[in-house]
């Protein structure tokens, strides 16, 4: 089966690798303050630190290797995304810009099927929009990637990012930044700050739920009618009751949100995408039943490599058979419309 991998993660090897991509004064500051490059992002049991690069990506490569069946893949630069939890807003923009330039030069050179989601910090949306437009014409830029600050996605704070992404026909990939719920300025989880990694990972799926509701009811898709938002790395089982409830509340409260002209589930089918990857210990037959209840456009296969080593075929067992081609390829092709010509089933 032909695959488009909507979520895999490159690895910037060191702080030193980024310095040539910065203004000299900023490079001096990064060195002087002993800036520590974020480890990929913390995944339970799968932390990959630049000082321990042995697994599973080879030390000399920036991007995880692709299977023969992969026609195209979207690199989501997870090391840029923790910047949502930093205090120095100006530094986040400099860091993201340097990291993007490094990845465009090094990661994309490793395999022509690789495409980059330009990573931006949500702190200064105008700077993020400038960064998006700076790279939008690159033939292998296919998306924008960011993580969340403690402002709902429907708030006008994000408008410059959405406007630039919409103008450039780039989907916006939302991925955990790694500091949600534990760093001031990032979204809280469950209204509190979780006190353990287990609590945090358990609650992480609250973020896409709150933000999908915000995107829909705040009318983001009225303002940006072709915008696609991909929530990567958050799972999808929670989306079924969310959309059912969102439809019900829309019917009851439409008079409060007349700008929402369609049922939320219909808007989700057009605008919201969720990645589906490794099943873990979830029983495939149960996952299939859940997946079948979502609009068929919503799910995209995302390998989450190098944090997961599962083969696509093993992950797609959790998708109803009549939807597998959609999830493996077709939905991503329709979402990442900037994928280079020639990516096809």
């Amino acid at each position: 089966m032909t695959i488009i991998d909507a979520e895999l993660h490159p690895r910037i090897p060191s702080r030193a690798a980024l310095l040539p991509y910065m203004d000299a004064a900023w490079a001096e500051r990064f060195e002087r303050t002993a800036f520590v490059l974020p480890a990929g992002v913390p995944h339970p049991g799968h932390d990959i630190h630049p000082d321990d690069p042995g697994r599973p990506a080879a030390p000399e490569t920036v991007a995880p290797p692709l299977d023969a069946e992969t026609a195209a893949a979207i690199l989501v630069p997870a090391q840029i995304l923790p910047s949502a939890g930093w205090c120095d807003h100006a530094m986040t923009a400099v860091y993201a810009a340097a990291a993007n330039r490094y990845l465009l030069e090094h990661a994309l050179a490793e395999d022509e099927r690789l495409h980059l989601a330009i990573g931006v910090s949500p702190h200064v949306p105008e700077a993020a929009a400038t960064e998006i437009r700076a790279h939008a014409d690159h033939p292998r830029v296919a998306a924008v990637a960011t993580s969340l600050v403690n402002i709902n996605l429907g708030h006008s704070h994000y408008d410059p990012i959405f406007a630039a992404a919409h103008e450039c026909d780039l989907p916006v990939v939302i991925h955990p930044g790694g500091t949600e719920g534990v760093s001031i300025g990032t979204p809280t989880l469950g209204g509190v700050h979780p006190r353990s990694a287990e609590e945090r990972y358990t609650l992480l799926a609250q973020l896409p739920q709150a933000n999908i509701a915000s995107l829909i009811y705040d009318g983001v898709f009225t303002r940006y009618p072709d915008l696609r938002i991909v929530f990567a790395g958050f799972g999808f089982a929670w989306a079924v009751p969310l959309l059912w409830r969102a439809d019900m509340e829309w019917r009851n409260l439409r008079i409060d949100v007349p700008w929402v002209r369609e049922p939320p589930s219909a808007l989700a089918a057009k605008h919201i995408r969720l990645t589906a990857g490794e099943l873990g210990s979830a029983p495939a037959e149960s996952v299939r039943e859940i997946a079948a209840l979502l609009p068929e456009e919503v799910l995209l296969y995302g390998s989450d490599r190098p944090f997961s080593a599962a083969a696509a075929a093993d992950a797609l067992v959790g998708i109803p058979e009549d939807r597998r081609a959609r999830v493996a390829h077709d939905n991503a092709a329709a979402t990442f419309t900037r994928l280079r010509a020639g990516v096809r089933a």
């Binding site: 705040d218 009318g219 983001v220 009225t222 303002r223 829309w250 019917r251 009851n252 409260l253 439409r254 008079i255 007349p258 700008w259 002209r261 369609e262 049922p263």
Partner: protein, 139 residues
């Protein structure tokens, strides 16, 4: 092929026209339920006093206007609208044809024709599509 015998149209007396305050329902009991009759600026209308969603009484409040689709956080009142709003879940239906506002459901509020003769208001019940709708069928 089956044939359907149309039900005869029945007239229900709802009162003297001058007894109807503007936009407020007068509810008349009929076998199997009740009907709300209202005088608006565009004339008399009658609807079944039962929401097609979950059965709430629909005619306890005046008819009202609704909001039109607009930009985010822009409210625009449809000055020409006249709707019945359910008190339970705020589903809205047009007073003239019973269709839902905003396409939230395909169910319709049952409507009836009204005639005024010699200053007296009559609701016409039964017959055709209305009879089917009255049984709770969707559009």
């Amino acid at each position: 092929m089956s044939t359907v015998t149309p039900r005869p149209v029945r007239r229900v007396h709802a009162g003297s026209a001058e007894e109807f305050p503007l936009d407020e329902f007068r509810v008349v009991e009929v076998p199997g339920g009740s009907i709300g009759v209202v005088r608006t600026e565009s004339g008399f209308y009658a609807v079944r006093n039962r929401c097609p969603h979950m059965g709430a009484d629909m005619c306890g409040n005046p008819v009202t206007k609704t909001t039109l689709p607009a930009g985010p956080f822009e409210y625009r009142l449809d000055e020409d609208s006249c709707v019945v709003r359910c008190p339970w879940h705020r589903w809205e239906f047009r007073i003239d044809d019973g269709r839902s506002i905003g396409g939230i459901t395909r169910k319709r509020l049952v409507t009836y024709d009204v005639v005024v003769e010699d200053g007296q208001v009559y609701v016409l019940r039964g017959g055709g599509r209305r009879a089917a709708a009255e049984e709770g069928e969707d559009e």
